[in-house]
């Protein structure tokens, strides 16, 4: 895997998610990521960060959430990979199953869609828990 080309950090706070999006937008532009792909990355990043803010527990707020941007491979298999690490409770998004889709509006629960979006949009999802931190990498092919 390629070394990160850019890194950023935010607090695990709802109010800071947009700054992470701005960082990703600038970085994507800097490295020539096509606009439609940058939007997909932005969407996945937003969902990953919201999951941390909403579900990772109080330990997630004790250290910054760290973000890394990397480009792996070349040609057909070239991918942009974003790694998000946090100190929240261990949670393997790569193996967790999204909620089953509701069959009626009345049955539909307002939450639980973030994971479905991340899994639907990314071409690769990888997770490890290391040194007390979750490391989730999502990647898309460009």
């Amino acid at each position: 895997m390629g070394a990160p080309l850019s890194q950023f950090a935010i607090n695990a706070d709802r109010s800071e998610i947009r700054s992470a999006s701005s960082w990703l937008e600038k970085t994507s532009l800097q490295y020539g990521v096509p606009t439609n792909k940058a939007l997909v990355l932005d969407q996945c990043l937003d969902e990953v960060l919201m999951n941390i803010v909403m579900h990772a527990g109080s330990s997630a707020t004790q250290t910054p959430v760290e973000l890394e941007f990397a480009i792996n491979g070349a040609g057909v298999g070239k991918e942009i990979a974003i790694t998000v690490s946090d100190s929240g409770r261990p949670f393997n998004s790569a193996e967790a199953s999204p909620k089953p889709k509701a069959v009626s509006l009345q049955e539909a629960e307002p939450g639980g869609l973030g994971l479905a979006i991340i899994k639907g949009l990314s071409s690769r999802l990888a997770y490890e828990f290391r040194n007390g931190r979750n490391f989730l990498t999502f990647a898309i092919l460009v």
Binding site: R14, S15, I17, R18, S21, N36, L39, D42, Q43, D46, E47, M50, K101, A102, S104, L105, Q106, A108, P110, G111, L113, G114, A116, I117, G120, L121
Partner: protein, 113 residues
Amino acid sequence: MPIDFADKDNLRLIMIDGRLDSAGSDEIAMRFAAMSSGAKPAVVVDLSKVSFLSSIGIRLIIQNAKSLQNKGGKMILFVGDNEQVSTTLDSTGISTLVPMFSELTLAEQAAVA
């Protein structure tokens, strides 16, 4: 984040413009709820100018669609040629619960049907 509405006969068209992430959703939540609260039984939500639709934004749509349905009303989504929005709605299965159209005329017809 801009949100506005226009009424025609028994249909209300709600227009949302901008980024419907957590911050955007928080910004419009109360106004969206008020606008789709049943003043008109048929509501079309115009998402064609939404630049970004997150699960938090979808949550808002579901909540208000359900609330309207419970009052005997119906919510329909108009997405135009907004691929980001339509793909997100399709991938989450929401488009089968709250119908989505790329043509405004069809969306309005479905709302009042």
